[in-house]
């Protein structure tokens, strides 16, 4: 099956946050109320009961006055998902059309994926001791529906569909924006980390939206997963073998020397 993706166009988002509500509703997530922090953003970040949020980037320009940039944050559904590689319980899986799914029944709450993800997306749900994250509404998509967020979006900022087609739509839109007052407009998700199933049209460079410009899996995580875990542990059976060898040879040598070197003798006269 071809890859299906969600395209989010920053320039069309009005921050109505209908997607946030629709996500809570479909996934039956309880409200999480955080104190006011002097900003219209609802939550600091996604959390165990909030799979997506609209981030508010506020800036002040002497001429234009106060300006807001909005950004929808949720799982990127990487093709090559690092969360899936580090998970010691194989709780993650990929659907044939590209969504990264997490099975809370297999999860043991070790939180390795939360630290391994280059976007720090998987979040810990303390009351159940499991990780949660956006599912791309796989349960809806597999019934031929759109994800709840894309279904709700009233401004056309979210479009769900064939990824190859959406890449072209996004590229055309970025080109249009660059010619119409957003010279740094760009797309995100086409090539990053080998490809994401969440595409973006951005009106400015990715760092202005809190995105890593060149996202990478941390070298610490690669070192741990690709070198230490597969190879380093072999030292243990090696040491066990050494001790087992000594167990046999020292007993053989002791009997050959007519009892010398036995326990009581102290081993070496």
């Amino acid at each position: 099956m071809a890859n299906l993706a969600n395209l989010y166009d920053v320039s069309k988002c009005t921050a109505c946050r209908g997607c946030q509500v629709a996500c809570k509703d479909w996934n039956q997530l309880p409200a999480v109320i955080e104190p006011f922090k002097g900003n219209y953003q609802t939550h600091d970040d996604t959390n165990g009961d909030t799979f997506t949020i609209i981030k508010f980037f506020e800036s002040e320009d002497p001429v234009d006055g106060v300006k807001w940039d909005f950004f929808k944050r949720q799982c990127m559904h990487c093709w090559d998902a690092e969360c899936m590689k580090v998970c010691p319980r194989q709780a993650y899986s990929k659907t044939s059309w590209g969504a990264t799914l997490h099975d809370p029944d297999k999860c043991i709450g070790c939180q390795y994926c939360a630290a391994a993800c280059p976007f720090e997306i998987p979040k810990y749900r303390k009351r159940e001791d499991v990780i949660t994250k956006c599912t791309m509404c796989a349960d809806r998509v597999e019934e031929g529906l759109k994800p709840a967020c894309a279904r709700t979006c009233p401004s056309g900022a979210l479009t769900f569909g064939d990824r190859d087609e959406l890449v072209q739509v996004a590229e055309a839109r970025a080109k249009f924006l660059r010619a119409n007052g957003f010279p740094r407009a760009t797309i995100y998700g086409k090539i990053e980390l080998g490809g994401l199933n969440n595409l973006y049209v951005l009106t400015d460079t990715p760092d202005k939206f809190g995105l890593p410009v060149d996202p990478k899996v941390s070298g610490n995580v690669t070192f741990w997963q690709d070198w230490i875990q597969p190879y380093f542990g072999w030292l243990i059976p090696l040491m066990l073998t050494a001790s087992a060898t000594s167990f046999v040879t020292s007993r053989l040598l002791a009997s050959k020397n007519g009892g010398h070197g036995e326990h009581g003798e102290g081993g070496h006269e």
Binding site: C110, A115, Q229, G233, S246, G264, G266, G267
Partner: protein, 227 residues
């Protein structure tokens, strides 16, 4: 040959480890091994039978945490109440010298059971000095990285990522040492008598004289001459 030397109370014995040292040694041994086997459940990926012993993967995680706290407490108690002993231990480690280097060089032969002549040793021989540095360092790293992995939310994500490989490297380091150490402290002919030093507190005087000549002379020299 018996697995470990017979405990002989018909021969003169000398004290090697006091009650507190023995309590903390066996306390951290049990909790360390519990941590090890419950940790291996995740390290080895897919050893369901090992996880099943602890009631599944979640059970293993719980046992890992309970023993981790237990080990921290046992080591903490040993360090606070046995502070004087720890200082003496460190002082002995600082006496690392030519006799220790010679010991380590001929040790592989002694290990395999060849009769060799070993230079006189202090309270801890060259190998034990090495063990006394490497193993506690690894355990310290395990504790440090372990608590960071337990509560990743309150630490910077970069530190959590470093903790993952640190925990594994320190686990392998400590376990390799323990594989040799546990064998030498029990089944190895020759050094097996040291087991009684850690279990009952005393070792045979002739064994101590033979294996730790410098320590024996300094600690029990006068007394044994008087006898």
């Amino acid at each position: 040959m018996a697995l470990i030397p017979e405990y002989r109370d018909d021969v003169p014995r000398v004290e090697r480890f006091n009650w507190l040292a023995r309590f903390s040694h066996w306390g951290h041994t049990v909790t360390f091994l519990l941590c090890l086997f419950t940790g291996l459940v995740l390290f080895l990926d897919g050893v369901n039978w090992l996880a099943a012993i602890f009631g599944g993967y979640r059970g293993a995680g719980l046992v890992h945490r309970v023993s981790a706290v237990g080990m921290t407490l046992v080591i903490g108690i040993g360090m606070v109440f046995g502070f004087k002993g720890i200082i003496e231990w460190i002082k002995d480690l600082l006496r690392f010298g030519m006799n220790d280097i010679k010991f380590i060089m001929i040790f592989p032969l002694e290990f395999l059971g060849f009769p060799v002549k070993v230079p006189p040793q202090t309270r801890f021989n060259g190998g034990e000095k090495g063990n006394s540095i490497v193993t506690p360092t690894c355990v310290f790293l395990l504790v440090l990285s372990g608590y960071i992995m337990w509560f990743p939310a309150i630490f910077p994500v970069g530190l959590v990522r470093v903790s993952y490989w640190t925990h594994d490297i320190a686990m392998v380091g400590a376990t390799c040492m323990v594989c040799m150490h546990a064998y030498l402290g029990s089944f190895h002919p020759g050094s097996g008598e040291s087991f009684w030093g850690m279990w009952k507190g005393t070792v045979r005087a002739d064994w101590a004289q033979h294996h730790h000549a410098i320590w024996y002379k300094e600690t029990y020299g006068d007394k044994s001459e008087a006898e």
